[in-house]
């Protein structure tokens, strides 16, 4: 056994750590991509001038909401999404 392992290899989705969930108000967003730039996890998707949030690895740090120049992102208690689908991932 040689200690060389293929990467990436992700066994858990760190989105499960999240206490606060970023919620995008699309009508306020002008696609400036500041949130995409500053997301430590690379959890913001960008396509055709707009953004969406991939919650699998979003830890809910809140940098995107704080840095958004148009306040188009809000951090919402994760617990309020329970049972709505898209909640905490294993």
């Amino acid at each position: 056994m040689i200690p060389v392992l293929p990467t990436p290899h992700l066994s858990s989705r760190t989105g499960a750590w999240r206490m606060l969930r970023p919620v995008l108000e699309a009508e306020k967003c002008n696609g400036c991509l500041v949130c995409w730039l500053f997301c430590p996890e690379g959890s913001i998707r960008r396509e055709n001038g707009s953004v969406s949030i991939d919650l699998d690895y979003c830890k809910g740090c809140g940098i995107c909401a704080r840095e958004c120049p148009r306040r188009a992102l809000r951090m919402v208690e994760e617990a309020s999404f329970m049972g709505e689908g898209g909640g905490k991932l294993a």
């Binding site: 040689i2 392992l5 293929p6």
Partner: protein, 378 residues
């Protein structure tokens, strides 16, 4: 071609003949002539290799590790304090299973300061997961360095090798050395084809972190590789012998042990002195023999049981001390003999520390002591 060479020059020749691709080394007495000669070979265009002039031994082995995971055949050399300074990287290289070959020009460790030979430096590193081969002559240094690449790079071994040679006695003393031709060496030692190397097409983590669930299995595989190395060392020595006409006994080399009542166990250059003493004592009718351990890791326990099991007394000559116990090789020989129905008495002798000369008279005295010892049968 035959010419005068000391063991340092012989090792540098082996590096050239092995077509080593990356060398990283830091100078230390008495290793310096190896790295100077390699630098000269590169400067003269005789060796096409990268020479990384590192700022320490720790960095020397770290650079070898980096070059090895890039897929290159690598070499380094050190002595004494330098080997001690590498200690952390020794475990790293063996645990990562990179086939580094390193010449260790044996020298005692400070304090007090010494530049002369003993085996404290490499024996202190016997648990680092490296194969350790101790040579007797400059010729064997050259031949063993070539064999070392075959052993280290063997797919089921992938374990780094130290080629240990006594400082000054071997490193700075010339003898007639048969220098193999490049074509012969090429047929013995093909280019290194790593199973794993850094490749952005197949990204991997080299030496990832492991939890208690996995770590032990990787460590066990190192032990299994060492076990495998026993047969590989023997097979490579045989194959080398068939090609070049020189064999070194694989893991351990007995000399006149047939019917021997007292057998001396040695490592390294002192074996040549002991051989002459054995010849003289045999001539005088004493039933004495000699067993040179070529490998300290993997330890030739089976060979020791077979060769020493019939002796009445075994004298172990250690050029090291495991402080608080005895010579390290003595302990290991005893452990190898453990469980035999008829066990020889084992006597330990620590001699030759810090370059103290070991003369024929010293060895004869050890044999006389061993012969006069009335062995208690247990």
């Amino acid at each position: 071609m035959r010419d005068y060479r000391n063991a340092n020059e012989a090792v540098a020749l082996a590096v050239r003949l092995a077509r080593v691709e990356v060398v990283a080394a830091y100078p230390i007495t008495p290793q310096t002539a190896i790295v100077e000669e390699i630098a000269g070979q590169i400067a003269r265009g005789e060796l096409d290799a990268e020479y990384i002039r590192v700022e320490s031994e720790h960095s020397a082995l770290a650079a070898c590790y980096g070059a090895a995971v890039a897929g290159a055949r690598v070499f380094t050399a050190t002595s004494s304090q330098g080997l001690a300074y590498m200690y952390e990287m020794l475990h790293y290289a063996s645990g990562s299973r990179v086939p580094v070959v390193m010449a260790v020009v044996n020298r005692g460790l400070a304090a007090p300061w010494t530049i002369w030979t003993d085996h404290q430096d490499s024996v202190s590193c016997r648990d680092t997961g490296w194969i350790q081969l101790y040579v007797e002559t400059a010729q064997e240094a050259l031949d063993t360095a070539l064999q070392a690449y075959r052993i280290a790079e063997h797919g089921e071994v992938l374990t780094p090798v130290m080629v240990c040679l006594d400082g000054f006695v071997l490193s700075h003393t010339e003898e007639v050395v048969e220098i193999p031709r490049q074509e012969e060496v090429d047929s013995f030692l093909p280019p290194y084809r790593p199973a794993y190397y850094v490749d952005p097409e197949r990204p991997a983590v080299f030496a990832p972190g492991m939890g208690p669930d996995l770590y032990p299995s990787y460590k066990r595989s190192q032990q299994l590789a060492m076990e495998k190395a026993r047969e590989v060392i023997k097979a490579v020595d045989e194959e080398f012998g068939a090609l070049f006409g020189r064999r070194y006994g694989g893991l351990a080399e007995p000399y006149r042990c047939e019917g021997a009542k007292a057998v001396l166990v040695t490592l390294g250059s002192v074996t040549s002195t002991a051989r002459e003493v054995v010849d003289r004592l045999r001539q005088q009718g004493h039933a004495v023999g000699l067993l040179r351990l070529r490998a300290l890791r993997p330890f030739p326990a089976q060979e020791i049981r077979e060769i020493l099991g019939g002796a009445e007394v075994v004298a172990v000559l250690d050029r090291n001390c495991s402080f608080g116990l005895e010579g390290a090789v003595c302990t290991e020989v005893k452990a190898a003999l453990y469980g035999l129905a008829r066990q020889p008495q084992v006597l330990g002798f620590i001699r030759g520390l810090g370059g103290q000369d070991i003369s024929q008279a010293d060895i004869e005295e050890i044999f006389q002591h061993a012969l006069s010892f009335s062995p208690g049968r247990r």
